[in-house]
């Protein structure tokens, strides 16, 4: 099998750890995984990532731990690996040559730790003492001290990432909405999402014995992934892993959109419910605005419920680009509709661990959803659906929609909304820039992903959500029987 290409080297390391863990789960040799896998990945004797192979192995051992589910005591899906973060050489505050070595040197006076001294008529920051409070930068009249923000801190638009006194990154679980931006941004791979891939392996193993059906529901963003194979081959590959069928999550998106259209008529204002990070952001940062969150379940939950109504006793695994879906599926409000969530990265590792080369497989069709459900993967997709379908679905009132692309835009808009100054009444929010097609657990990130999603939408057999809504109604009747 060809060496897999990822956007970053950190993704490749994560992939190697995941693949090894899955292989061992099937071979029955997980016991020694944390000890043996790091040695397999870094055989030595030379190290090329960190100071020595022992540190590389220590970090890898943590990656293996995360691949096996991480810390069960920590409710957050995102965890830091302190031993990996410690290595980060970047000082947050840096004295540029613009420093004049002035007489006042306010920077020295304001530093609470005495970290600044003047050497050769220029300020110098003692990195050991600096606690990155930023007072020196603010006090300099020349603006000569600049903040070189850490990639993780920069990536976190809602201030949930802090730096400890010992300089490792710490996540504030009360603020974090698990968007996963820090996971993809950290160049050392020191922030990682928990993997539930072993739960998925267990579900499939049990299903094989008990003849239970396990359905995979795949997020529409998948069409911009796996560039080396056709989507129909990926579907066939997923079936080869032991799944009974592969269904588009976009079908659930059709239903979510239909329900949101119904809701819109009765509500003054509404924020969308499909992005769990957006929902969590409102809940945790603007509790006053909770009343505006749409009560329609997310597409993942909606399609999983539909499948479970038609196939009682089955299990459903969601495969997507999203970190916060790993949190959402465990929430009580989802009624256990989804049994496990894995990422595209984990799917890649799973396929390779089982020796399934999708590029050589035959094609298995995938066509459950409408155009509108499929374009939920991009920022602005839901808004487009609402705009184009509102008349058809009898919405009489004036709809003024806005699509908030990424947490930065969301933050600005929610501040306004909280102050009663947001004029729009339909508020779509996607925590990831560009939408799900740029989710943190995508194999590839890029501007072209949106073209793939639009093309996929255009190829749908259904160009309206009516068919999915009719099926929803039909299976709802099943429930009553």
């Amino acid at each position: 099998m060809k060496e897999r290409v990822f956007d970053t080297k950190v993704q490749l390391l994560k992939y190697k750890a995941l693949k090894a863990v899955i292989e061992r789960a099937y071979a029955g040799t997980l016991n020694q995984a944390m000890y043996e896998i790091p040695k397999e990945i870094v055989p030595g004797p030379k190290s090329d990532m960190r100071c020595c192979i022992y540190k590389e192995r220590a970090v890898l051992s943590e990656r293996v731990r995360m691949a096996m589910g991480g810390d069960p005591e920590n409710p957050n899906i995102i965890e830091t690996i302190p031993v990996a973060c410690d290595e980060c050489p970047m000082e947050s505050y840096f004295v540029t040559p613009a420093c004049r070595g002035c007489i006042n040197h306010k920077c020295m006076d304001v530093c609470p730790r005495g970290a600044i001294s003047i050497v050769n008529r220029s300020a110098q920051i003692d990195a050991e003492k600096c606690i990155e409070c930023g007072r020196c930068a603010k006090s300099c009249p020349y603006g000569a001290i600049i903040e070189l923000a850490r990639p993780c801190v920069k990536a976190c638009k809602i201030g949930a990432l802090k730096i400890n006194e010992d300089k490792t990154a710490v996540i504030d679980n009360d603020k974090c909405v698990m968007c996963g931006a820090c996971v993809y941004s950290c160049p050392f791979g020191a922030i990682v999402d928990k993997s539930y891939v072993l739960d998925c392996v267990e579900i499939l193993k049990e299903a094989e014995k008990s003849k239970r059906k396990v359905y995979a529901i795949i997020a529409p963003a998948i069409v911009s992934q796996f560039k080396y194979a056709k989507i129909e081959q990926i579907v066939e590959g997923i079936k080869k892993l032991g799944f009974h069928q592969v269904i588009e999550t976009a079908m659930g998106a059709d239903i979510t959109l239909g329900k949101e259209l119904e809701e819109l008529n009765e509500r003054e204002k509404m924020t969308t419910s499909c992005c769990p990070s957006f929902v969590m952001y409102i809940e945790r940062h603007f509790p006053k605005l909770k009343q505006y969150i749409s009560s329609s379940p997310s597409p993942m939950v909606e399609v999983a419920k539909l499948i479970k109504r038609t196939s009682p006793g089955c299990k459903v695994v969601f495969i997507g680009p999203c970190a916060s879906k790993k949190y959402e599926y465990k929430l009580p409000k989802t009624d256990g509709a989804v049994d496990c969530v894995i990422s595209f990265e984990e799917l890649q590792a799973f396929l390779d661990a089982r020796g399934i080369d999708v590029s050589t497989l035959e094609e298995s069709p995938l066509n459950n959803a409408s155009k509108y459900g499929r374009i939920f993967a991009k920022s602005g997709g839901i808004t487009q659906g609402v705009k184009e379908l509102k008349e058809k679905y009898g919405i009489t009132k004036e709809i003024c929609p806005i699509a908030l692309n990424g947490l930065e835009q969301i933050r600005m808009a929610m501040l306004k909304m909280n102050a009663g100054k947001l004029p729009e009444n339909f508020i779509e929010g996607m925590a990831c820039d560009g939408g799900c097609l740029n989710g943190p657990l995508c194999l590839s990130h890029g501007d072209k992903n949106v073209l793939d999603v639009d093309k996929y939408g255009a190829q749908a057999r259904e160009q309206d959500i009516a068919a999915s809504m009719k099926l929803y109604e039909l299976t709802k009747n099943d429930d009553k029987d």
Binding site: Y215, Q245, S311, P365, N368, A467, L471, T475
Partner: protein, 80 residues
């Protein structure tokens, strides 16, 4: 009696949604609402030959949006 129509990808592409609509109409026009239950299922395992339809677990062959009415009369109405 339960009629199940496959709504998996292959059958959808062959028109299973239309088959469901026609069956709904046929059940209604023949006044069979209480007697015949129409259900959907994701994949009944015959992706090559669909639209796959079962009637109390028995496969009905050759169902398409065009043939469904005739097959309904032949297999369902006569059995009731």
């Amino acid at each position: 009696m339960e009629i199940k129509v496959c709504i998996g990808s292959s059958c959808h592409l062959r028109g299973s949604y239309e088959v469901i609509e026609k069956l709904k109409q046929l059940i209604a026009s023949n006044g069979l609402e209480g007697k015949v239950n129409l259900a959907a299922s994701f994949c009944l395992g015959k992706c090559g030959t669909g639209v796959t339809v079962t009637c109390d677990g028995e496969f009905l062959d050759g169902v398409t949006p065009e043939t469904v009415e005739g097959i309904f009369k032949e297999r369902v109405l006569k059995a009731l």
